[in-house]
Amino acid sequence: MKGGRDNAMGMASRPKPESGLELYAWIFMRVSGVVLLIMALTHLVIMHLINNIDVVSYEFVAKRYATPFWRTYDLVMLWLALIHGVNGSRTVLLDYVHRGGLRVVSLTALYVVGFIMLALGSLVILTFHPVS
């Protein structure tokens, strides 16, 4: 089934699952979405409007990561955005990939890539130590 409540009227929102993991995933998408709205748009304004790609450099990041604030900010945003994105992709795969084997393979690939990227991103944020 595509869309959700009052589908016949052309409205699109995923129907709220009854219980269990799917319900938590449904709630997570909405809660993380609101948090990401603030965090990601703030990130865009700071990095792409106030600053821009011409000023972003190693020294820029070193200065930014000298205090724990932006490291924490980026770590929280990374986890929320990546899990939000992986779960959204899971929804898309479940919609489009119906054959059993292919579904298992594509979902597994998604989770493996998601996990590796989450680990890599976290490692970078937590262990970065500027060269002097």
Binding site: L37, L44, S57, L82, G88, V92, L120, V124
Partner: protein, 125 residues
């Protein structure tokens, strides 16, 4: 049940369908960039040379144009996400769902157009 190709991107037509499709496309697009962004940021572990080389790639015109598209994708996904949130947690708003779709479109244009022009100021240089 067989599914026609066009049914993968359409269902009942009208405003909600296009919002749903755009939400998917922008969401997947932002995720692809996020994965690339994790890799480019990881270059910082190899020192200033590697990281600055990665950033100079982003200064190419095609990536600068992509940056503007990315900002649009994030903004649309965020605004339409608010619409979904409203519809889900206040179901009575389904009676004005078309107005909500138009509100998202209006807000998107009002915020995105000036930001995109500002981000594209390098073109005039």
């Amino acid at each position: 049940m067989s599914v026609k190709p066009q049914q993968y991107i359409t269902y009942r037509g009208k405003a909600g369908q296009w919002s749903w499709l755009l939400h998917r496309v922008t969401g997947l697009g932002v995720l692809v960039f996020l994965l690339a962004h994790i890799v480019d940021t990881a270059m910082i572990g190899w020192g200033p040379g590697a990281y600055n080389a990665a950033m100079s790639l982003y200064r190419r015109p095609v990536f600068r144009a992509g940056e503007v598209l990315l900002a649009g994708a994030v903004l649309y996904h965020a605004l339409n996400g608010v619409r979904i949130f409203i519809i889900d947690f206040w179901p009575e708003t389904t009676t004005i769902h078309k107005k909500l779709v138009y509100a998202v479109a209006a807000l998107f244009v009002a915020i995105y157009v000036p930001c995109a022009i500002y981000m594209l100021r390098w073109v005039a240089r």
